[in-house]
Symmetry: C2
Subunit: 179 residues, 2 copies
DNA sequence: AGTCCCATGTAATCCGTTACATGATTTA
DNA sequence: TAAATCATGTAACGGATTACATGGGACT
């Protein structure tokens, strides 16, 4: 494979709970899962066709109480098996996490570079905003223990994202003070 | 552009210090910059041609005291300008950092899922190994203050990578204890 | 009447990985 | 002399983004 294509598993994972249309799936990437993954609708519709051709999902087109024709997709037993296989598969090595800002810094050699502080400040601002956003998401999405225990993976990764941003900000602040 | 292509800037940044061959550049991705970025040699050679066509670098083919013909590339004033422009450019939003493990967790709903702990343990092991590796890199690459001050960006991002792995491990350990 | 959102696609383009390919030199 | 490394490419394929495209419904 050219690049590891995880979209099939995402779509299966989302459809598993309840049948969905391509548009519904697109919407998911604007809210919940959009915090952790991004994809364009053009890719979704193509992948859905592939999944149908592969027998992982089934489509059902019609008017479902609405005035607009929609196509709903539901997962097949084969699709469920494929999804489970991926969910519990072992990763033998960590992928490199490509961060443009980190790359830029690699090429800034001189500690006394006059624009270094400004760059660090800009990033700090971005990450502080992100951190704020994630903190409010946590409160919003997980108001009580029951919701936490029934969406535990999501709860864990949201907490991880928050800790990651805290680390990012603290690193940048330390860096700013060090120069 | 399909995906943001940062390779031109990486190549310019590496060539800026001293003229290099395609093979030299490939080697860089096996050591220093390989900690933060990955690329295949096929892409390097293609990108070098594009940079030459674009006037950002100049090529010089011949026998340089060796028995093998090599092609050295050096940066042009235009290339330097392009590199500087990128290095000090402002990023207005943060890119999503796609992590397969995080994605998997999103689809693990139940806190009592019997395989959750095992998955977390596996990841913890990987990140601990990574952390060890980064710590030894830091000692190896930055033995004294002068080297630090003259490669400050690299020093900063290596420290960031270490703190990031520490956060990852601590998050996983907390998660393991919580279930 | 116009704008926004719903809903679903295709096409073009470029990026990234894998595979194919070749030949010389150094090292074990 | 065989294997590893040096050195440089091309080709095929698939993933990801952008742009093009269409039509209906809801809201102002």
């Amino acid at each position: 494979m050219a690049q590891k294509n995880l979209l099939p598993y995402i779509l299966l994972g989302l459809i598993e709970n309840e049948p969905m249309t391509g548009y519904d799936l697109k919407k998911e990437f604007e809210t919940e899962i959009g915090e952790f993954w991004s994809v364009k609708h053009s890719q979704i519709y193509l992948e859905l066709k592939r999944l149908v051709a592969n027998g992982d999902i089934e489509s059902n087109t019609g008017y479902f109480g609405n005035k607009i024709e929609k196509t709903y997709y539901k997962i097949t037993p084969q699709g469920t098996k494929s999804l489970e296989g991926w969910k519990y598969s072992y990763e033998d090595q960590l992928a490199i996490n490509k961060d443009e800002f980190v790359l830029k810094l690699y090429f800034i050699k001189d500690k006394k570079d006059p624009r270094l502080k400004e760059l660090l400040n800009e990033q700090s601002h971005l990450h502080k905003k992100k951190l704020e956003h994630l903190n409010s998401r946590l409160k919003e999405v997980f108001p009580n223990k029951k919701i936490i225990d029934n969406n535990y993976g999501h709860y864990l990764i949201l907490n991880h994202a928050i800790k990651r941003e805290m680390e990012y900000v603290s690193w940048l602040e330390d860096a700013i003070l060090s120069i």
